[in-house]
């Protein structure tokens, strides 16, 4: 039912009182909005400093966008060498292109799937400086390219694990089912900070022969962490599928795997794409936590830039506005898209 109908039901208009209250609320909202808009406009535009140094900023008193301009490279690419910047730039463009391509229903298919495997790997190669004169170790990667790479790599590698976990949790075999349920519930019980902290300590100890660096430990942990949430999303899609689909396929003589791969999964996955997008947003928003175990992701780089108190005192507001705007642009667009898709898949819902 529409919101308007509901409003009238929750708060039916009685003579006199409510319209007046309503008008007062409207006025207050408009007044507050205008006041906030003016204050932000003055700080962010009128009194702002767009170029120059910290002295120019202090003279004006408003926002110091000169800080963002001067530290743009540091915030977006961290300490990656200038002469090799085309590598993280290209990698970022590739991942953004992958994100956009994934949003076009016409492109959903094997090619896109291949893209999800190849693009993160290609991005790894790009950032590592291979092939080239100078190889970059993973702890020299940083900034927005690193955030996007961690996101894409973890999400892509979590998917097959999640598929297996989801199918196993719905299995009729008790041992398989209990094992999958146990893994999913154990991982979901942990906060992400704890998972990252534990993995940064335990993974190198558990695999002493392999040269496990921090980046790899984090990717392994994030992949397992995301998989347990992803498995629950996929399970919901499997549960929502009418039992007739499964029964009809079995009646035609298809085996369990044929039924699952050809009939059940394609439909179930298509139905859960909106929650998959939402999960992707959630993961992107929690990537800053990798800063806690020592990776220089985008938000950490922004924070480091803002912490140059000697050169740029008190620029936290500007730095966080800049970072917030970028996260917001990525996530808001995606969440609008997921809502649009939801309506397309299920007309009448949401």
């Amino acid at each position: 039912m529409s919101g308007a109908v509901l409003h009238r039901r929750l708060f039916p208009r009685r003579a006199g009182g409510v319209p007046l209250l309503n008008a007062a609320i409207s006025l207050a909202v408009i007044g507050g909005g205008v006041w906030a808009a003016i204050a932000f406009f003055r700080w962010g535009i009128l009194d702002a400093t767009w170029s120059g140094g910290a002295e120019a900023c202090r003279a004006h008193g408003g926002a110091c966008w000169a800080f963002v301009r001067a530290n743009f490279k540091l915030m977006v690419f961290a300490t990656y060498p200038s002469e090799m910047l085309w590598r993280p730039e290209l990698g970022t463009v590739l991942i953004l292109a992958l994100m956009i391509a994934s949003m076009v229903p016409r492109l959903w298919g094997k090619t896109l799937l291949a893209g999800w495997v190849l693009v993160p790997l290609a991005d790894c190669l790009l950032l590592s400086g291979f092939p080239g004169p100078r190889l970059m170790s993973t702890n020299e990667w940083g900034g927005l390219p690193l955030t996007l790479l961690i996101w894409a790599l973890a999400y892509a590698s979590a998917f097959p694990v999640a598929l297996v976990l989801a199918l196993a949790r719905r299995s009729k075999l008790g041992g398989v089912k209990t094992l999958a349920t146990g893994v999913i519930e154990l991982v979901r019980a942990m906060p992400m900070v704890v998972v990252l902290y534990v993995s940064s300590l335990i993974v190198p100890m558990a695999l002493p022969f392999a040269e496990v660096n921090l980046f790899l430990s984090i990717e392994v942990a994030l992949s397992l962490f995301i998989a347990s949430y992803l498995a629950e999303v996929i399970r919901a899609g499997l549960q929502a599928l009418p039992a007739g689909q499964d029964e009809a396929a079995r009646a035609l003589g298809l085996s369990y795997w044929q039924t699952t791969l050809l009939v059940v999964l394609p439909q179930a996955l298509r139905n859960v794409i909106p929650p998959l997008v939402n999960l992707g947003i959630g993961i992107l928003l929690s990537t800053p936590l990798v800063g806690f175990v020592g990776m220089i992701d985008f938000l950490t780089a922004v924070r480091l830039a803002a912490a140059q108190e000697q050169i740029w005192p008190g620029c936290y507001g500007e730095a966080y506005c800049f970072a917030g705007a970028i996260y917001f642009a990525l996530c808001f667009a995606s969440s609008r898209y997921s809502r649009w898709l939801e309506r397309r898949i299920r007309p009448g819902a949401g």
Binding site: V29, G175, A189, V194, A206, Y316, Y327
Partner: protein, 354 residues
């Protein structure tokens, strides 16, 4: 609808009580649970155990190489560090176990007040968004979108930067009577027992100090503000979707029966909306509790921070991790078990799909 539902429920209950054709001895039940395909399952479980044993052996070997001995006894040795805020008396030199308890109590305090305030704010926002004023609804929508589409970490950094930008105690801001904001923290009125009577104790500014009331450290205040704002957005969406999930026919039917508005909400709408709201709200509470661990990023000493410091000081990293896992498993598993139980009960009544 209601009568129908009840009939269906009793039908299902009846069906559950019928003995299954294969008998209901424990052995039969075990067989049903096991399913079949024995070889594959045994191989899988065995493989999993072997993997765990392999990783465990590696960890033990690595510990041995690094000169660490597995030992939980460190919990009963004195800890050398101080903790900035504590609900129970604590000082450097007390046992590690007590230090961890202090961290746990800080986590619990933050989670409790966070859930409380987020619920108050979230429910108000969710209801106000449906209250018929389009401007107010858009404003709340903008709030929800901004809060939900930026990282919680970023918001916490913002809040802690804000508390660090507050004036010193002498020039403390006083946005409301009895509320002081200063760089040393937030001071609020708080109930206290004075001379046997329950009174509200007000903070009073004298010189360089504020006495009376309750004081929140800047870190706690920033965490509380951040978690409250972040989770109020998701709770308001939960409340809204819960109320909107009740079909319009329910309102109309109740009005046709001549029920008053308050009774419609209380007897018809809320009970149905709660079926949607309860599981979502519970998982929000669980997520909030897990996100108290972000306190470690801005210097709030919750349980993870204490355990990490202990691990650094003692070198007993693996054992401290076991303690950490135990803490969060014992918080999360009972709650998700309760959510499952609730959903199963609704499913049995035929309210949602099995």
């Amino acid at each position: 609808m209601d009568g129908e539902g009840r009939k269906e429920a009793s039908f299902f209950d009846q069906k559950r009580r019928l003995p299954s054709p294969r008998g209901d001895t424990p052995l039969a039940r075990l067989q049903r649970w096991w399913g079949g395909n024995g070889l594959l399952q045994i191989l899988l479980l065995g493989g999993m155990l072997a993997l765990l044993a392999f990783l465990g052996a590696n960890i033990a070997q690595s510990m041995h190489r690094l000169g660490m001995a597995p030992d939980l006894g460190y919990l009963w040795r004195p800890a050398a560090f101080d903790i900035s805020e504590s609900l129970i008396p604590y000082q450097a030199g007390d046992l590690y176990a007590r230090a961890i308890l202090v961290g746990l109590l800080n986590t619990a305090k933050l989670a409790f007040f966070g859930c409380l305030l987020a619920t108050l704010l979230g429910v108000s926002l969710g209801v106000l968004r449906l209250a018929g004023n389009p401007l107010l609804a858009r404003l709340i929508e903008a709030y929800v979108e901004i809060v939900r589409n930026t990282p919680l970490t970023l918001q916490l950094f913002f809040w802690i930067a804000l508390t660090h930008a507050l004036p010193p105690v002498r020039q403390a801001l006083q946005p409301l009577p009895g509320v002081f904001l200063s760089i040393r923290g937030v001071f609020l009125p708080w109930p206290a027992i004075e001379a046997g009577r329950l009174m509200l104790s007000w903070p009073v500014l004298h010189g360089f100090n504020i006495g009376g009331g309750v004081s929140l450290t800047p870190e706690f205040a920033a965490m509380l503000a951040g978690l409250t704002v972040y989770y109020s957005a998701s709770i308001s969406e939960t409340v809204r979707s819960g109320i909107e999930s009740v079909h319009a026919g329910q309102w109309e039917a109740a009005r046709a029966l001549g029920l008053a508005r308050g009774r419609i909400v209380r007897l018809i709408v809320l009970p149905q909306a709660m079926r949607v709201i309860t599981p979502l709200m519970t998982s929000s509470y669980l997520d909030l509790t897990k996100d108290t661990t972000l306190g470690i990023l801005i210097g709030f000493t919750e349980v993870t921070a204490v355990i990490k410091t202990s691990a650094n000081n003692t070198g007993n990293a693996v054992e401290t991790i076991l303690v950490l896992l135990a803490v969060f498993l014992s918080i999360s598993l009972p709650v998700s078990w309760l959510i499952n139980l609730y959903n199963q009960r609704l499913a049995r009544r035929g309210v949602i799909a099995r």
